[in-house]
């Protein structure tokens, strides 16, 4: 008798009807200028570029392209605001403005969430439940610190730096803007912020909020554009501090550019996190953690758990559970409330991911993708995992920044620590075990800035975030996040 293969049938015939979030309530302009000195200013180049919805490739708005002249204008506005208003204002008053921004984000949370999803392709479930509430939480948290800096750093006489140039990535547009702006304002600095060119809209909506909050002109300036605009900020002489989140490649260029200048910097760069599953872990929940680790935000997460290490004794069972779980992931319209995995952020990024899928297969790895159908228009990638890989594979070594997981096995604690640390990156890691002592042993030996125990991709404004090695330096969030905007 042939052995019956046992399989769970996920084709239930009870399918989820579309449940799209409405877009009727959002207000988007056709064209956005630069927000400099509290006013909307036309770019001196006169140039605008389109920002599109990666889920259907339709244009959402035109965005101004700032050149060196505009950057100079923004920095001057920030300097003036710093010298005349912001550095002289009692800290308690500064705090009030930041609270006001936090409350306004909460009030407009729904609009922010929809725009974030339209512009970036992330599922509305995430922008609604994670991005926007966390962004508001960051402003609330740092608002509280504004008048307590002397208690945060007793006897060290903390002083603000001046003008901060901030450059944010496209994976968490509003949240990263909040991570940058909130601590800078709380510590008494003024800001020139440039969001990523594919996802500028929520930062521009934040500029509207800042206007509405009545922040003194020039304290926060938001200018848009691509790499050249960013370079102009980095190279401007009157900037005191660069805060950058993005790729390791650009991070290196920035560090080169500011070498020998007075500019301070925090760089939050790439990652290739090890997510380590021990045989004594709660395996079903570990599987949930693997899913959250790599498929959260389409894998466009610098701290994504992209290298999975499973102890050999439980490899088969974890893989079975993981593949089953992947079947229930809904891929499609990001605005649908049931969508788990949305659109890839841009055509360019999809090309990068596809390149790595090819490399992985060419290197002899086995590719597995869930059975889902992808929409015809827009940029999409099925949730993917590679088995039969090792530390020598490029898909294990390089950051893919997509929903692509590389699965390896290990036998002992020593082996997995060596492999986990065997990477130029050092941003995050995850450890899954039922044994507390093993967990703490691991956390003290892994070279990563953030280590999650029996969970993954959990964020809180009170907790510092940042990397080791080529994942960058400096911390954002928590008390540590204040320090990088102060001198003593």
């Amino acid at each position: 008798m042939a052995k019956k293969t046992i399989k769970i049938n996920f084709d239930t015939g009870w399918d989820l009807a579309p449940a799209p979030e409405s877009t009727g309530h959002i207000q988007l302009n056709e064209k956005y200028d630069l927000f400099i000195g509290g006013k909307w200013v036309k770019p001196s180049s006169g140039k605008y570029f389109a920002t599109i919805n990666p889920a259907d490739e339709k244009k959402l708005a035109m965005i101004a392209e700032a050149n060196e002249k505009d950057v100079d204008k923004a920095v001057k506005a920030a300097r003036k605001a710093y010298d005349t208003v912001w550095s002289k204002m009692p800290a308690k008053e500064r705090g009030k403005y930041i609270y006001r921004i936090a409350r306004l984000i909460q009030e407009k949370a729904r609009e922010f969430a929809v725009i974030e999803t339209l512009d970036g392709g992330k599922p509305i479930r995430e922008s609604r439940d994670i991005d926007i509430p966390l962004a508001a939480a960051h402003f609330f948290y740092y608002a509280g610190w504004a008048d307590k800096l002397d208690y945060a750093f007793p006897n060290r006489k903390p002083k603000s730096l001046g003008v901060a140039g901030q450059i944010t990535p496209w994976n968490f547009p509003l949240l990263m803007a909040a991570w940058k702006i909130a601590p800078a304002l709380a510590t008494g600095n003024t800001v020139v912020l440039k969001p990523a060119e594919t996802t500028s809209l929520t930062a521009l909506k934040l500029a509207e909020v800042i206007q509405e909050a009545g922040l003194p002109d020039g304290v926060v300036n938001i200018i848009t554009g691509a790499g050249e605009t960013g370079a102009a900020i980095v190279n401007h002489n009157d900037i005191d501090k660069i805060a950058f989140t993005g790729s390791t490649g650009v991070g290196k260029i920035i560090q080169n550019a500011i070498a020998g200048t007075h500019k301070k910097a925090t760089l939050e760069l790439g990652g290739k996190a090890a997510n380590i599953i021990f045989e004594d872990a709660a395996l079903d929940q570990a599987v949930e953690g693997i899913i959250n680790g790599i498929y959260f935000n389409q894998g466009h997460v610098c701290c994504a758990g992209s290298r999975l290490f499973i102890q050999e004794s439980v490899y088969d069972i974890v893989m079975r559970k993981l593949k089953d779980r992947m079947e229930s992931l809904v891929v499609g319209n990001p605005l649908d409330k049931n969508t788990d995995i949305g659109a890839i952020n841009s055509k360019e990024q999809l090309q990068v991911i596809n390149k790595y899928l090819k490399i992985g297969q060419q290197e002899g790895a086995e590719m597995y993708q869930s059975n889902c159908t992808l929409p015809k228009k827009g940029y999409w990638c099925k949730p993917t995992l590679f088995t039969n890989v090792s530390q020598s594979n490029r898909i294990v070594q390089e950051e893919i920044f997509g929903p692509v997981l590389a699965v390896q096995t290990f036998r002992t604690v020593a082996e997995v620590i060596e492999k986990a640390n065997n990477t130029p990156f050092g941003l995050s890691a995850g450890v899954w075990t039922d044994k507390g002592s093993k967990l703490f042993n691991m956390t003290s030996q892994l070279n990563a800035g953030i280590i999650w125990g029996n969970t993954f991709n959990k964020f809180d404004p009170t907790s510092p975030f940042g990397g080791y090695k080529e994942s960058g330096f400096g911390r954002e969030g928590g008390l540590h996040g204040l320090k990088d905007y102060l001198r003593f």
Partner: protein, 303 residues
């Protein structure tokens, strides 16, 4: 009496992490179940309900009234599914059988000194036999939670196995009374024991203890069922009971089943709701989906 030798390894149950379970449930409750999906789900849920009356005050007439409710859920709405079963105490099985004769609705009976289970095996077997002989197609037994807490797992196992034997052709649902077990680890262990000892269904609660069924506890039990299915190819059913009184929650349970065990469990052969007030809420929602208007509760019979 021959000595039973259990081959089950009581230390084989995996550990459960509460934070992870809650994360998974948060994903389930965030699912938006609308339109056709909702209608289909509501009807499916209605078809899985075990209408239940387990009161000290139960009488023949009360049981007959409940059976009538099962037979005539809401006759003004055509093509409604029936409920799965009517669940009563053993001494009312005969009455219920008679009232439901010739229908597809099963009679289920609680047994084994329900709800506490504090009695001898002899009494429990007799209790089971009375219900089976009276014609109960399904037996809902309770495990000995006291023995479980004492660590006497083989006692719990042997007792379930003995009751299973006494059930003959009737299907056995094993109530873990998760509200008295304390941790998810204990729930998982009790699930594994019950399944290995021969349970056809595992069930969360008696309905007499709070908390009764919850989504997280149900997920823990569904995973136990799934692991056993992969190991043996044998299907075991699941019945959350108590505390499920509205349609929204019932649909979330079904979504949990859909995403954990798939199609084969989305039928009343393998999934049940132990609830009495749920049926009317499902009916009200079904009518609302059809007409677009919520009707007064007084349009739905209460038996």
């Amino acid at each position: 009496m021959s000595k039973k030798v259990t081959k089950f390894n009581f230390n084989s149950s995996p550990t459960i992490d509460q934070v992870g379970i809650n994360d998974r449930i948060a994903r389930i409750t965030a699912r938006s179940i609308k339109k056709e999906t909702k209608m289909q789900g509501l009807k499916m849920a209605l078809n899985m309900v075990d209408l239940t009356t387990l009161e000290g005050a139960d009488t023949d007439k009360k049981v007959i009234q409940l059976c009538n409710k099962a037979l005539h859920l809401h006759d003004s709405f055509p093509n409604l599914p029936t409920v799965a079963a009517v669940c009563v105490y053993p001494n009312f099985v005969k009455v219920a059988k008679k009232a439901l004769e010739g229908t597809k609705i099963n009679v289920a009976s609680v047994a084994t000194a329900f709800p506490s289970g504090q009695s001898s095996l002899k009494i429990k077997l007799l209790d089971t036999k009375i219900a089976v002989n009276a014609g109960a197609e399904e037996i809902d037994m309770v495990i000995s939670r006291g023995k479980f807490h004492e660590g006497n797992y083989s006692f719990v196992y042997d007792e379930i196995a003995a009751i299973k034997e006494a059930c003959g052709n009737s299907r056995l649902k094993v109530i873990l009374e998760t509200g008295e077990l304390g941790t998810f680890d204990a729930v998982r262990k009790a699930s594994d024991i019950a399944i290995a000892a021969g349970a056809d269904f595992i069930k969360t609660s008696t309905g007499k203890i709070s908390p009764a069924a919850t989504l997280p506890v149900t997920l823990v039990m569904l995973e136990a069922i799934k692991d056993y299915y992969y190991k043996t190819g044998i299907q075991v059913g699941m019945k959350p009971a108590g505390g499920i009184s509205n349609s929204k929650l019932a649909l979330q349970y079904l979504m949990l089943v859909k995403e954990t065990l798939g199609k084969d469990w989305l039928t009343n052969k393998w999934f049940r709701f132990g609830a009495s007030s749920l049926a009317n809420d499902l009916l009200m929602q079904i009518v609302k989906q059809d007409t677009g208007i919520y009707q007064s509760k007084d349009y739905f019979s209460k038996d």
